[in-house]
């Protein structure tokens, strides 16, 4: 059943395909490798061109691990809850899922839209 016939390798161009193939795969990934290794230098060079060094902004934040008070813990839990739920399920549109009481005012003194997505770009 199994016929091993090495001649097929030549007629099927096997060696040539293998050499070409590995050459191309290597050149592709080599180019990617060179690209990503030069990327940081490219970016810092671009930054120097712009002459704007917006450093020293992150270092100011220092975590102070002091004892938390009761209300702070409540606030923290509630904040996480709020932030996470804001996002979960449907990200920006999710606010609209809530059932609304029959006569709720959709109006809001600060002029904010209540339920049309803030970023809906579809129409």
């Amino acid at each position: 059943m199994i016929q091993f016939s090495p001649s097929n390798i030549l007629t099927g161009n096997g060696i040539a395909i293998t050499l070409t193939g590995m050459l191309i795969v290597f050149s592709g990934l080599l180019l990617i490798s060179l690209f990503i290794s030069s990327l940081p230098r490219l970016l810092s060079w671009l930054d120097q061109l712009k002459q704007k060094t917006p450093a020293a902004t992150d270092s100011s934040i220092s975590a102070q691990a002091t004892e938390l008070t009761e209300p702070e813990i409540h606030a923290a839990i509630s904040l996480v809850l709020h932030l996470e739920l804001e996002r979960c399920g449907g990200d920006l549109q999710r606010i609209t899922i809530h059932e609304r009481p029959a006569m709720a005012s959709f109006w809001n003194p600060r002029g904010q839209m209540r339920s049309l997505s803030d970023r809906s770009p579809y129409a």
Binding site: N13, A16, I17, L19, T20, L23, I24, G89, G90, D91, Q93, T96, I97, E99, R100, P101, A102, M103, A104, S105, F106, W107, N108, P109, R110, G111, Q112, M113, R114, S115, L116, S117, D118, R119, S120, P121, Y122, A123
Partner: protein
């Protein structure tokens, strides 16, 4: 050696033309605008990356591009070329849109009608420049400032221009914050821009449920050609407002619209192969598209001023500019300009009324053009 040669002749580098390079730069520009400037990223990122994919020169004999029958991209593009994706996007938009602003202030709806003059004057311009009536209709719809509507009508009337029209429509929608403000400033006085509008009345749950049903019947009977777009928009809205189909509304405005947006944006972008796209016609379409946005903005503002001649409670004419659709960007532009003159003036909700009316208006316009020009 032969194989190597055969391969290199199949490599993209060999076939790369200046046109492709130019389009790749356009794609990179779209991505930059979206990611750095945050202009409509949900649309410009897919379209921009699609432009890159569509302009890698493909090898003859391989089914790769959206135009090769049997290619993966052609199957995805099928949803664009047959106009299937736009109604599904409208379904999701309906399920995320709150029509309360419009329900509480019915007369602002007319501003959304006035802005559609941009569609029809652009059609006349396109006819004058030698386009066929079908092409002219498809180009005019750019003035509707509504991506899905533009794609839907182009697919029906002028499929060969679909790429240019879609790219023009989405580009100008992303550029609304750049295009509209000068026109708004030019056409309004400082006094007009300072007009404050009274907070509208509250809208009951029942009104919000009945509205999509009634409005669909009106639009469908008046312009049956708009039936599919408008039908899906109001169907989505009913799913949302009925409160008994929350899970369907939720899926429509999340998974469904996201999947369709990804596939639509990517394949529209991939349809802009330089060989098909870089034509004098495309340039004309971009010029006409810019014009149509300006005309539509003027139409809305001037009609608001015209209405003020008869109204006791004056409208701030800025909100006329929101009649072009481009939801919700043009409403936000109106709001920001209002606040620049008077930080205590909150126009956003008022502007939403003509804004969503403009969506309905341009869908009706598309239905009319399809009906008249389909033959």
């Amino acid at each position: 050696m032969e194989t190597l040669n055969q391969f290199f002749s199949g490599t993209g580098f060999v076939h790369l033309s200046w046109g492709h390079v130019l389009m790749i730069l356009v794609g990179l520009a779209f991505l930059t605008l979206a990611i750095v400037k945050d202009y409509e990223p949900l649309l410009l990122v897919p379209i921009g990356f699609g432009i890159l994919v569509g302009n890698i020169p493909s090898v003859s004999g391989m089914a790769l591009s959206v135009y090769d029958p049997g290619s993966v991209l052609s199957y995805i593009y099928f949803g664009v070329s047959e106009g299937i994706f736009p109604p599904l996007i409208f379904l999701g938009i309906g399920a995320m849109t709150d029509f309360s602003a419009m329900l509480s202030n019915p007369k602002l709806v007319l501003l959304g009608a006035a802005a559609q003059i941009g569609i029809f004057l652009t059609l006349i311009g396109a006819l004058a420049l030698g386009f066929t009536p079908q092409e002219a209709g498809a180009i005019g719809i750019i003035g509707g400032a509504d991506g899905p509507t533009a794609i839907f009508l182009s697919a029906k009337l002028a499929p060969h221009l679909l790429g240019s029209i879609a790219i023009a429509a989405y580009s100008y929608m992303a550029l609304v914050p750049v295009i509209q403000p000068p026109i708004m400033k030019l056409l309004t006085t400082r006094e007009e821009r300072l007009i404050r509008m009274a907070p509208p009345r509250q809208v009951s749950k029942r009104e919000r449920i009945i509205f999509p049903i009634g409005a669909f019947l009106i639009c469908g009977l008046i312009a049956p050609g708009s039936m599919v777009l408008i039908g899906m928009l109001f169907f989505g809205n009913l799913l949302k407002e009925s409160l008994v189909t929350d899970r369907l509304a939720n899926t429509a405005r999340n998974a469904l619209i996201d999947i369709v947006t990804i596939l639509l944006g990517f394949s529209v972008g991939a349809s802009t192969n330089a060989d098909y796209f870089l034509t004098p016609q495309s340039i004309l379409i971009f010029v006409l598209g810019a014009l149509s946005f300006c005309i539509a903005t003027c139409g809305g503002i001037l009609f608001a001023k015209f209405m003020n001649l008869f109204l006791r409670q004056k409208i701030n004419p800025l909100i006329g500019a929101a009649g072009v659709s481009a939801v919700p960007d043009s409403a936000r532009v109106v709001h920001n300009m209002g606040q620049k003159e008077d930080p205590g003036n909150f126009l956003l909700m008022h502007a939403m009324a003509p804004n969503v009316a403009g969506v309905i208006g341009s869908a009706i316009g598309a239905g009319i053009l399809w009906t008249v020009l389909v033959h």
